[in-house]
């Protein structure tokens, strides 16, 4: 199966630019907006959130700490202050509820970079590249924790591209940003969705918090699917779609695989509007529409 070079074109022609990019636009606004909440402090002197994604303080009252950072600290045998523990508990609770990988799609500043690489890869028709296993990231996560324990340092912070970007914007440009370029090139030329889908230990960690995610995508309109494959082509974790989309009868239409980042791109690019955001207990399925022909023929021609 060769990936389609330009998923979403059909949806755009049928539903217009905004509908076909709605969740993408919202996500970019969310990613940028969160960075701006931090950045208006150093840039304009309006202090809303201080610190970085590693640990922050909002309006002087709400502490937030990255739980993976704290976990590395714990295995490096340091017992953090209450402030950090409370902050990590809040973040942990939040993502456990709505779904860990919402972090990847809606917060992480690396996501636009790897999305761009994936887009360019499709346009240049580079194909799948190095076929890393999607479980590799959990071994990387294990390696990070082992190295933290061995050296007694918070080891991933030495190369964490996520906080590198934040520090560069908030505290001054860093050479660490070159890592972001390396990740871009890696995703573009070496492995499709290589970093976020296979390597990033932060994504792996938040993936572990994703098993009970409340916010999920449902393929409730799967009876309308005409197998254009656009959703597969655009999904950064394409293996998560089929079980929900191709299931028969009463089987759940919810994408339950914990790798799903809830990015909503499948919703956007599907010309048949098969997918929608919902909660994980929503088992509703759309009634199969009578094969009225005309519309479908027209869509096929456009494609």
């Amino acid at each position: 199966m060769s990936t389609k070079r330009n998923p979403g074109v059909e949806a755009r022609e049928v539903h217009g630019f905004f509908v076909a990019n709605w969740w993408l636009i919202l996500r970019r606004l969310s990613q940028l907006g969160i960075l701006m909440l931090f950045a208006v402090g150093p840039l304009l002197g309006v202090w809303i959130v201080k610190g970085t994604l590693a640990s922050s303080m909002t309006f002087g009252v709400l502490p937030l700490t990255d739980p993976l950072m704290l976990l590395q600290s714990l295995v490096a045998r340091h017992m953090p202050e209450m402030l950090g523990l409370v902050g990590a508990a809040i973040v942990l609770g939040f993502y456990l509820m709505i779904g860990g990988r919402v972090y990847c799609s809606w917060v992480c500043p690396i996501n636009p970079v790897t999305d761009l690489a994936a887009w360019a890869r499709r346009r240049l028709d580079i194909g799948k590249g190095w076929a890393l296993k999607s479980q590799s990231r959990y071994w990387v996560l294990g390696g990070v924790l082992a190295a933290s324990a061995l050296t007694g340092t918070i080891v991933f912070e030495l190369i964490n591209p996520i906080t590198m970007v934040y520090r560069s914007v908030l505290f001054g440009l860093s050479w660490g940003l070159s890592l972001v370029i390396i990740i871009f090139l890696f995703d573009l030329f070496v492995a499709r969705d290589g970093w976020c889908g296979h390597i990033c230990p932060v994504g792996a960690f938040y993936g572990l918090l994703n098993s009970s995610a409340l916010v999920r995508v449902s393929a409730r309109g799967r009876s309308r699917c005409d197998e254009c494959m656009d959703c597969y082509a655009v999904c950064p974790e394409m293996h998560v779609i089929a079980p929900a989309l191709k299931a028969q009868g009463e089987a759940t239409p919810i994408i339950l695989n914990r790798d799903c980042t809830a990015c909503g791109r499948c919703i956007d690019v599907c010309p048949e509007r098969v997918f929608s955001f919902t909660h994980r207990f929503d088992q509703r399925l759309d009634e199969p529409s009578p094969p009225s022909g005309a519309d479908h023929v027209q869509l096929k021609e456009v494609a």
């Binding site: 490096a76 590799s136 071994w139 080891v155 505290f171």
Partner: protein
Amino acid sequence: MANSEKKGGSGFDPKRRRALKDMATYCVGATAITAFLAGLGGLSRSLPAATLRPPGALPEREFQSACVRCGLCVRDCPYNTLKLAEVGDGPAIGTPYFIARSVPCEMCDNIPCVKACPTGALDHSLVKIDKARMGQAVLTGRETCLNMQGLRCDVCYRVCPLIDKAITLQMTHNARTSKHAIFEPVVHADACTGCGKCEKACVLDETAIRVLPIALAHGEQDKHYRRGWEEKNKAGKELVPGVIDLPDRMPAPPSLSKVPQ
């Protein structure tokens, strides 16, 4: 399927073999990643002498297991003393430090940097800034210091927030003029916080007084050393009675015999 089960009996199940191979690949990969990261972690554990940690910072090793590089301490320092390290600055990337000669620590009474730290990398048990030990000042340029040449600069002494405790002027004879005094700036480790105000203020092009890491500056005597005179006082008597007091070594070193007459 049945076929593979049969083969399984003879230890040649291709499925199992694939799984084993995958497992081996993962293990090798994870080991390589661990080794790579551990190497990086090891490399970044040292702290150059010119860079100082904020007040209350845990000893460097522990600091690196604690600091999440959030920069909250940097944000709450009212004097912009602290910076987050960049590649090449010396300290592990993203960790807070300061260079005394650029911006020293002003020793805030309420220590906002420590209060802001969410992890305890800056130890919250530090509540009196006078107890901070960011380093220790040392008069490294005894031959360039103006006071040591018999002039009255005194600047480092006067700017010290713990004047007359952390730094004093010690009067000695000026052998050059033989009628004046030398007021030597002397730092006292039991009071010096390492804030770096003296280093910042030194009037020379290159400072003659520097804050160094305590381990580098202070030295440490062997734990088993006993000072004879202290033991004698404790015991109330000579511990080894009848020690012969040998005459001092002769000849005296040339530097002593050249004292002007």
